[in-house]
């Protein structure tokens, strides 16, 4: 018989983004157990955000991480490993516990929805195998009272990033199928993917095309439509804006989330990766305010 879960014992698990401002904005970071979608124009900063999260998830619990590994499925060609390495060097230099070995990158090209579904299913099998190990290790450790037994346990995958989902589904469908049937089939595939993703414990992130908000001064529209929107639990919109002094300001906005109000946070991208900006520091002119308020 199915058993209810005791809510008073639920501890919401989140992974830090490595920045106090962004973590505060997200009430702790990227949540486990739900699908968070990062949507935005090309070059808005989505990939930068997820690259940073591939590293911050490896941080220990005491620093807001999940002590975990990450899986990165990149669908737009060659994964930006050099950039990942550069953030690692500049931001986490000298830390042995944060390294590229803890980031598993899907090597095979993912171009069709079937490829993506297959990859995620195989990942599911891998996670199931791994899930058994830490429990066994911890039990053995308790028995033998080894003080640093925790470090002996293998890391488990705690973050899955798909960058991006839209790329794979955008071109799906044979040209001789009627339009409506194509839409139905695509919707079915999207839901199938989500069901798989939601069955996997651990955070998930996906980049996709724009949401109905403003970026670079233009209104932008969603790709993948309503069916996909129904699949994600939390949608965050990443945008870039021209600042008053000629520079660029980026914003991260909550479009919808069960635990967050409609709000936004500015951030910048530099060699060290992503850094959130407090409101005062984001004084870049009224043009930005008009878009976001």
């Amino acid at each position: 018989m199915l058993q209810p879960i005791d809510l008073t014992k639920q501890i919401p698990l989140k992974t830090t983004l490595g920045c106090g401002v962004l973590d505060g904005f997200l009430r702790g970071g990227l949540p486990c157990g739900i699908i968070t979608e990062l949507t935005g124009e090309a070059a808005a900063g989505k990939t930068q955000l997820v690259l940073q999260s591939l590293l911050t998830v490896q941080l220990p619990r005491s620093e807001g991480g999940l002590d975990g590994k990450a899986v990165y499925i990149y669908t737009e060609g060659k994964p930006p490993v050099e950039r990942l390495q550069s953030i690692l060097t500049n931001r986490f230099n000298g830390r042995p516990d944060i390294n590229l070995a803890n980031v598993l990158i899907e090597e095979r090209p993912i171009t069709t929805p079937e490829d993506l579904l297959r990859s995620v299913r195989q990942l599911e099998a891998l996670l199931e195998r791994e899930a058994v190990v830490p429990i066994a290790t911890a039990a053995a450790a308790a028995g033998s009272r080894v003080a640093d037994a925790a470090t002996l346990s293998r890391r488990v995958v705690r973050l899955l990033v798909i960058d991006s989902v839209a790329r794979v589904f955008r071109d799906a469908g044979e040209s001789d199928e009627p339009q409506v049937q194509q839409l139905h089939r695509r919707a079915a595939q999207l839901f199938g993917l989500t069901a798989l993703l939601k069955g996997i414990k651990g955070g998930g992130g996906a980049g996709s095309r724009p949401a109905p908000l403003v970026s670079s001064g233009r209104r932008v529209l969603p790709a993948l439509g309503l069916a996909w929107a129904n699949c994600v639990n939390c949608r965050l919109f990443v945008a870039r804006h021209e600042a008053g002094n000629g520079g660029v300001v980026r914003s991260l906005q909550v479009v919808f989330a069960p635990h967050l109000p409609h709000s936004y946070c500015c951030f910048k991208v530099d060699q060290q990766g992503i850094q959130g900006l407090l409101d005062e520091a984001a004084e870049q002119g009224s043009a930005l305010r008009r878009h976001l308020d």
């Binding site: 209810p4 839901f191 199938g192 635990h259």
Partner: protein, 359 residues
């Protein structure tokens, strides 16, 4: 049925006459007589005959045996309907739209686009069902069936905190107007209404596919018998797993119809409010235009007796609830908000023309 009269019971005539001669006129009197031996003594039946009569009280009558035995009067039904507890949403306009709140004993559906507030409303109802009877609350518990993973406990705790503040304030108001019982109950600890108790009052299930969903619906009657304080069952959402596990649409319709029948029966039998959150989908019309309709198709439309569409306002940026199906209420459209404390009504002075008349 305790009101069943002896004259309508399908008994052999000689037994019926013995009951009537002994002064028994209805089933509740038979229940009170204290067992087959006592009944036999009072009526002059043999113990076996008395046992057979009492057995009949617990049995369902076969179809067609005597329709009066299975019927109740409309007056009785109306009494029951008016007395049945309702679950408030804490948005007064929305409660009025629903006739006082979400009704128990029925299936109510809320559908809407992602982000409109379905999960927020589901969580709010799961908290509000626990409001004490002294404040006209249902004073019950809730089952929350999470099929999408949108239920986040920290948000539910926020909503619980907001409810505690709201209810405490109402208890103080009652005390100030001469009814201090509830406020004293809170102070003395006799009545518990805090975040921990509210979270414990929600039986939370996480469902990962449609077979789990169907298994849970099958198990629900037993669960409700085990925990009779439950007055609300929320499915958030009822649709999600049905949109991708089926390739055969007619099979999906059959399964959905069966699910609907079970939910209606469960709501009626146990007097609980079954609340279904539904997604919306785009329907392409014949002329090529498209509109948003509740998911799962037209045959699903019969599942809920009351259906509400949550949507963003056409003329404003507010959240709206539009009642489009109800057994006895007129259609209507009201605005509501979602604050840090949960679902609430619009702030005073900003209720636009889209509300109910005279508000």
């Amino acid at each position: 049925m305790l009101r069943q009269e002896v004259v309508t019971m399908p008994l052999p005539p000689h037994l019926r006459n013995k009951l009537l001669s002994a002064g028994f006129t209805n089933a509740s009197e038979l229940e009170r007589c204290g067992g087959p031996v006592a009944l036999a003594r009072e009526t002059g039946m043999t113990p076996e005959e008395a046992h057979e009569v009492l057995q009949l009280l617990g049995e369902r009558l076969p179809a067609g045996s005597d329709w009066r035995a299975g019927a109740v009067s409309a007056a009785t039904l109306l009494e029951a309907h008016l007395a049945a507890p309702r679950i408030v949403t804490m948005c007064r306009d929305l409660d009025e739209l629903l006739g006082g709140g979400v009704a128990t004993g029925q299936v109510t559906e809320f559908c809407g686009v992602p982000g409109i507030g379905k999960t927020q409303l589901g969580m709010q109802l799961a908290i509000n069902v626990q409001v004490p009877a002294a404040l006209a609350g249902a004073q019950g518990q809730a089952v929350y069936v999470d099929t999408e993973g949108s239920f986040m406990v920290e948000r539910c705790a926020d909503i619980a905190e907001g409810a505690v503040r709201h209810i405490t304030a109402m208890a103080e108001k009652q005390a100030a107007s001469g009814r201090p019982a509830l406020a004293e109950g809170f102070r003395s600890g006799a009545v518990v209404f805090n975040v921990a108790s509210l979270l414990r009052g929600i039986f939370y299930f996480r469902i990962h596919d449609y077979t789990e969903q169907l298994a849970l619906i099958n198990m629900l009657p037993r669960f409700l018998q085990q925990y009779p304080q439950i007055r609300l069952v929320v499915f958030d959402s009822i649709t999600f797993h049905f949109r991708q596990d089926f390739t055969d649409m007619s099979q999906r319709t059959r399964v959905a119809t069966l699910m609907a029948q079970q939910l209606i029966a469960t709501a009626q039998t146990y007097g609980v409010a079954v609340v279904l959150m539904n997604q919306v989908t785009t329907k392409v019309m014949e002329d090529g235009s498209s509109k948003l309709v509740p998911a799962l198709g037209e045959s699903w439309g019969h599942a809920a007796s009351t259906r509400v569409m949550l949507h963003w306002g056409v003329h404003d940026n507010e959240r709206h609830a539009a009642l489009f199906k109800s057994p006895h209420l007129p259609p209507g459209n009201v605005a509501f908000t979602v604050t840090a404390d949960g679902v609430r009504g619009m702030p005073r002075g900003s209720r636009g023309g889209a509300g109910l008349a005279n508000r």
